[in-house]
Amino acid sequence: MSITDLTSRAEAQVAERKEINERLQKLQEEVSDFCYQCAKCTSGCEAHKLLELEPHKIVALLKRGLIDEMINSDMIWTCMSCFKCKERCPQKVAPVNILFTLKNLAVASGKQVPGDFTAMLQSAMGIGLIQDIQTVPTRAGETKTREQAGLPPCSKPKDPAKFQQTIMTVAMEKV
């Protein structure tokens, strides 16, 4: 399977979904026991004001098992992963972790990966880093390379083929 196949996910990844579902189930049990919908997470949510993400509702939907509805929604992709919700929850529930798991499930279910994530993943699988070495602008309107900035060569995986094998087996793993 090529990198492109991995990111487009033409087929649902059955085994991978099973594992993520188990993770979600564990989270579901946790929130059912502990979350009492005080909405402290939402009151501090960085994505709430601008994109109307409401973490306490994500938790409520998970409690009710409305997982398909969530993985089909763009809402799960508005989290900035600032971890304020996890930090401030009086019951140690972590909506941010629920969102990470829902996004993983959406990807494994063949939903389209939004925005530039695909490019970052492809780059990481190809050269090991989420982007290649850039030539950067100076304030005076010129440009500089890493070398011109006086820096040593950038550390990257020594054997790209072996490296790709390592992460390919992760992404494609059958549990």
Binding site: N104, F117, A124, P157, K158
Partner: protein, 294 residues
């Protein structure tokens, strides 16, 4: 000199050269020897939304490279620091997962054990090197300057993991700036996110977050912003103009890495701090402070 493996991550070594240059110029003056190792990759945190197993594997892989040399690790990026710290915790508590990850690393001849200690620039400076040692090296105090500090969310949250600074009232950067001769007043938006993690999905909203915080800092009359995260620097410095356009404000906030400010206070030449790579109007800070950069 104490040796640390430098784990550069992705953003710093591919575009945020100001951070790396200033770190390499200042930390050796404080007895830190940075050791460059071959073979590192992304920590996996930027890809956590895609696949959390990928994050675990990539982080363990990078930790294993450092462990091979028996070195503790300096991680300048808060996001990488979070990924590597979380991976250490998960693999410590779940031996089965550790075994599974190690079976994947075997192909590259790597073994994860969990032996290295992790540091970010801030806790290395504040807790290991210490404020007194920093103060001793100051030859050009940053007098009359008042900086808004910005740490980077992942440096203080989630505290449950054990983060380098306090999650609700971080003061380590403030203390360091104080021994450099500057002030660092608290401000309401200090703990707020730069919006960076949203850039791949909602670029406009992401820039709105960036612009709003900068606007507030500007209105409160700070001399500039001091920070310690390559992602946040990308947002507040490299993208300041765009962020200003997004929120409809003319932004003029000098944004500098803490390591650049340390270099200035230590009398390091400007070209060794890569100050020409800051796109925000940092000359305001250089000129405003008599003796520095004049």
């Amino acid at each position: 000199m104490t040796k640390y493996a430098l784990y550069p991550g992705c953003l710093m070594p591919t575009e945020q050269y100001g951070y790396e240059v200033s770190m390499r110029s200042t930390l050796p003056l404080l007895g830190v020897e940075l050791v460059d190792l071959e073979g590192f990759s992304c920590c996996g945190e930027p890809l956590k939304s895609i696949n959390q197993m990928l994050t675990l594997t990539l982080s363990a892989r990078n930790l294993a490279i450092c462990e091979k040399e028996g070195l503790d690790i300096l991680i300048p990026c808060p996001m990488c620091h979070l990924a590597l710290s979380e991976t250490k915790k998960i693999l410590r508590e779940d031996p089965k997962m550790k075994e599974r990850i190690n079976s994947k690393l075997a192909g590259e001849g790597l073994v994860y054990k969990g032996t290295s200690k992790l540091f970010h620039v801030i806790d290395l400076l504040h807790d290991v090197i210490g404020l007194d040692a920093i103060k001793e090296k100051v030859v050009k105090p940053l007098s009359d300057l008042n900086f808004a500090t910005h740490y980077g969310c992942h440096l203080f949250r989630p505290s449950e993991l054990g983060r380098p600074v306090d999650s609700e009232n971080p003061q380590k950067m403030e203390n360091i700036l104080e021994v450099l001769g500057a002030k660092a007043d608290d401000y309401a938006e200090k703990l707020d996110c730069c919006g960076g993690p949203l850039l791949p999905v909602h670029p406009e909203t992401s820039l709105t977050k960036t612009g709003q915080k900068l606007q507030s800092i500007q209105e409160q009359g700070f001399s500039g912003m001091a920070l310690s995260c390559p992602w946040c620097h990308k947002m507040y410095d490299s993208k300041q103009k765009k962020a200003g356009e997004t929120v409809g404000a003319k932004l003029n906030v000098p944004v500098l890495y803490l390591t650049q400010l340390i270099g200035l206070a230590f009398g390091v030449e400007e070209d060794k701090l890569a100050l020409d790579l800051n796109l925000s109007p940092v000359e305001k800070v250089l000129e405003g402070d008599q003796g520095v950069g004049s």
